[in-house]
Amino acid sequence: MEELTNVVDWSRAQFALTAIYHWLFVPLTLGLGVIIAIMETIYYRTRDESWLATTKFWMTLFGVNFAIGVATGIILEFEFGTNWSNYSWFVGDIFGAPLAIEGILAFFMESTFIAVMFFGWKKVSPRFHLAATWLTAIGASLSALWILVANAWMQMPVGCEFNPATMRNEMTSFWAVALSPMAVSKVLHTVLSAWTLGGVFVVGVCAWMQLRGRNGDHCRRSLKVGAWVGVVGVLLTSITGDTSAVTVAKYQPMKLAAMEGLYKGDFQQSIVAAGILNPDKTPVNDEPAFLFDISIPYGLSILATHDPDAFVPGIQDIINGVSYDSEGNKINTVSYAERMEIGRRVRSQIAAYDVALRAGDKLALDTLHETINRDFAFFGYGYLDNPEEAVPNVPLTFYTFHVMVTIGGFLVVFLLAALLFVYKPKWLEGKRWAKWWYRLCVLAIPLTYLCSVCGWVVAEVGRQPWTIQDLMPNKVAISDLSASYVQITFWIFAVLFTALLIADVSIICRQICRKSQTDLDQVTD
């Protein structure tokens, strides 16, 4: 059992490592892709060479970042098979489809047109080149769309039915998978947050140049596009963040409770704006949840349901199967103890189905199939040892959520200010505090990365212990591997990706430094 825990933990660590490294690069690709496409469009329409020079400057940085995103992405796709082989069979019928579509429709688009984008300036017409740049950006976003649809399905498994004859889930509705509320909010929230990052990156890099008094005109051109994309991105990210919260409240209430450190829910539930969790608090004791907190009345009820009076269940309520409707009537949801019982029953029925299948007992097969499908929604709980096992890591989820929201709030104000300064440069020029603004702009880049990574930690840690929400816990999803094997590959990836990250950051910084010393109003190559 200890070996099993180790394999699960190391496999999770390896997946988390590769996913976090991958996500360090992808959002910049998505955001910067749109920005350079807009810049090139302006060049195409105006034929102003200075816009071409600006486009090429950002394209260089895009290329460096793109390559490492590709490198880390391939590992993720294949890790589903290498480290989560039970998972690959259990849901491959549904999960594999978005991945394949991603390859056929998005990756080929990206990889074909990016070659034209980088090497085709003198080989294809300006119109075709512009189309290639847009198609590269669109291909990257389409790629994100399909992988996020796949991820959303893991959080909210819809459009499928369990087939006990094949021991797997099978797709019954492609559109239910592709257009589930979780998928829609996740795709929009994530892609738009990447626009925010792209915008902040442009603002930050330009601020660094302005601190050194370099290429003012280039910076103004860049900021006109970057700040707009950033503002549009951050405002829409905020709106879709709200939609995401409502979706999570409805379909993953345990995650929402962990995000807020909420153990005992209430009507008119307040939201914790800032707080320190009590480390002694567990789902089964009566310790206070916080050592210190600042709360906003009604906040969580509004966030979760858009109704200030609504009841929001806490961790203990969810475990005990207690909730209330909008009229204040008690609703008995299914407690986790009952879910575990149902899950075990379904498991034994599937085993019986397997026996009946071999025996050719058609009558038993029909009866069992019906009962299995009726109760299958709680199948995964049958693997749990106790209800508390279904509670995610509350401190990690809580703190990362609050870091994300805090930085997100800062970014709204920051990007609106950045946009304002684009159109009112005199408010900034010559002011003594201008250099502090520029430094803040540079600092905003790592802050936005932190915000972005925190968002993913909330999404993924908050749904633990589930690989597939309610259907498959991590410990069942694994491959037949020894922990030491996964440890070795974990460290190989850790060293390799860190080395590549160092090279990536070094190249980007040197490119910015070097190119900023040239005249970025002129096309040099």
């Binding site: 098979g81 082989s85 579509i101 390859g103 990756f107 085709g120 492609f174 069942v476 070097r514």
Partner: protein, 372 residues
């Protein structure tokens, strides 16, 4: 049921097409494996030429994996989780490739150009060799068992289990290695042919033509050896009741039973030999990559079809014959295959724009002045 079987066959054909395209696109790796045989100026020409194409090979590999996951998830589950080291080595070799083209010439790349060129060399050698080994296990079998009901075991038993070496034993098998070496030499041959076509530099072309003698010759010898081994190898046949058994000369019988595949195989071989021989003998002939590329595609396509059709297990188990994977017992559901089949209608469109861009980008050949 008939419709389901048609979809399963259709998706095996799609996988075969993707596999064939991937093997053709390995000319990128083949070219990389020859970087250190060239002087500095030629190396720049070669990397510049390959730098326009590496992403297509990479994408084809990723799509091949994704499409396998979608259409035959039991293979994905069994092979990737089982032959862990084999697949991890393949993946690592492609990870280091992905950044090298972009980083090698960039100021501030920390480790120096030579480091990234070494990474390209590693990918150039290991990528085709190990991919060849992985494909060879599909013909010659691998050490796994499949028990789907293990999913119900709360103690963490897995559906598929593998021998303790987790893929290292596959690399150590002489037949798999032979196959892998053949793929490597094919990739190098195609790499030379690609350089002849894509780089307008007489000194480089002369060197590549000389290298074709070795690469092409070694490939032909290895190809003949692999064909001989394949045609005399045992394969797993599955009867209508789903019972599997080892059969002598299975792939040979498949070729005879599906004679159009034999025609494809022979036509492909002739085309590869034509492209190779004419490129070696005719110093003005630089388009050998096209007949050889089409030939490669046809040969690989026919081999994949021989592997999957005619009631054959495309992934035989050496530990438990009944666990062997066929396109019937390892595929996705009818619904998913149908949904994916609708998406696959777009494949010709994708191939069309790839061809258009390829042509547009390659209209001008790579020259020394560009590389400078």
């Amino acid at each position: 049921m008939i419709k389901y079987e048609i979809l399963q066959n259709y998706w095996w054909l799609i996988m075969s097409v993707l596999g064939a395209l991937l093997v053709f696109m390995l000319f990128v790796q083949g070219g990389q494996s020859m970087l250190f045989r060239a002087d500095k100026a030629e190396r720049e020409l070669m990397t510049r030429s390959l730098g326009h194409k590496w992403e297509l090979t990479f994408t084809t590999l990723v799509t091949f994996g994704g499409a396998f996951f979608a259409s035959f998830p039991l293979f994905y589950s069994t092979s990737f989780g089982g032959a862990y080291w084999l697949w991890m080595l393949i993946l690592l070799s492609f990870v280091i490739q992905a950044i090298s083209y972009e980083y090698r010439n960039k100021y501030g790349n920390v480790y120096g150009k030579g480091f990234y060129d070494t990474l390209l060399l590693i990918n150039g050698l290991c990528g085709p060799l190990l991919l060849g080994v992985a494909v060879a296990t599909m013909f010659f079998g691998a050490e796994f068992t499949v028990t789907k009901s293990n999913l119900l075991n709360v103690r963490g038993a897995t559906i598929s289990t593998w021998g303790p070496l987790h893929g290292l034993e596959a690399i150590a098998s002489w037949r798999n290695l032979l196959f892998g070496l053949m793929v490597l030499m094919l990739a190098r041959t195609l790499g030379s042919l690609y350089f002849l076509n894509n780089i307008a530099d007489e000194a480089l072309r002369a060197r590549q033509r000389r290298m074709l003698w070795f690469n092409g010759g070694a490939f032909v010898v290895l190809f003949l050896a692999v064909v001989a081994v394949l045609l005399t190898a045992k394969g797993v046949e599955v009867d209508a009741g789903g019972n599997a058994r080892w059969v002598e000369y299975k792939y040979f019988h498949n070729l005879l039973a599906m004679w159009p595949l034999l025609v494809l195989l022979l036509a492909g071989t002739v085309l590869v030999l034509f492209g190779l021989c004419k490129s070696v003998l005719d110093k003005g002939y630089n388009t050998g990559i096209w007949p050889a590329g089409v030939g490669t595609f046809l040969v690989v396509l026919s081999l994949f079809c021989v592997l999957g059709y005619n009631n054959t297990a495309y992934y035989p188990s050496l530990l438990d014959t009944q666990s062997s994977l066929t396109i019937r017992n390892s595929s996705s559901s009818e619904f998913t295959l149908m949904a994916m089949a609708i998406v696959s209608v777009l494949v010709p469109f994708v191939l069309g724009y790839i061809a258009y861009c390829w042509r547009a980008m390659d209209r001008e050949k790579v020259t020394r002045s560009q590389a400078d």
